[in-house]
Symmetry: C2
Subunit: 135 residues, 2 copies
């Protein structure tokens, strides 16, 4: 009823290991998570929401240290929203630049692939020519 989630559920949902989940908590990305009487962790809905964002930022290569700083802002209350915006906008700028770089390299790689394909088809044509020549 209480909308609590077990470590196993969270791990599956976010495709993280239990170890990583604990590591994130130790690293300060998550607050000290609630516990069942057994000592097992119980994640709340807002942990899930934060994890969602963390996952997204992590997937786009935000380092753990910056993630922790962000998480601290979240914990500090709504008055930190302007700072959080700064962090996100800064991160988005980096991300935009990274995507642009990757797309550029993608073009270069395609070019190289086309070059190799050209070499191969020329070679095939050469073979055909040899055959046509009667050898």
């Amino acid at each position: 009823m209480e909308d609590y989630y077990t470590p196993g559920e969270i791990a599956e949902r976010f495709d993280l290991t239990l170890d990583t989940l604990r590591y994130y908590e130790k690293a300060g990305l998550l607050r000290r998570v609630d516990r069942a009487p057994s000592g097992h962790r119980r994640y709340r809905t807002d942990d899930v929401e934060l994890l969602h964002l963390i996952r997204c930022l992590r997937d786009t290569d935000m380092p753990i240290a910056r993630l922790r700083a962000f998480a601290e802002l979240v914990r500090s209350g709504d008055h930190t929203i302007p700072e959080r915006l700064d962090v996100l906008q800064e991160h988005k700028n980096r991300l935009d630049a990274r995507i642009a770089e990757l797309v550029e390299r993608q073009g270069a790689i395609e070019h190289k692939i086309d070059y190799y394909l050209g070499v191969l088809s020329e070679r095939a044509a050469g073979t055909a020519h040899t055959l046509k020549d009667g050898s």
Copy 2:
């Protein structure tokens, strides 16, 4: 005249450190580079060309081990072009997928930024209202 390049020139051209250059050579990304009588490295035009491609692949996160495998194919001669094509096409597939993932997350981050902007402008509107109310 011989179209040789010094380590310093190469390092600057590719924005790599001398250490990294040597590390790449040890790791098998480059062949055993030529030496001047002094023992200093002298890079040839084809080293430069290979480095160009290596830089491109590295910038798109190809791991050193795969890069080494690719470099070995290059060293083995033209008959390895089909295998090189496989490596490049496989890498391009990963890269395409990675770019797609980043773009998706980019959207999510933009969304979050917009959400925070919304909170802030609502807050500002609330303040305005308070003022209008005569406080």
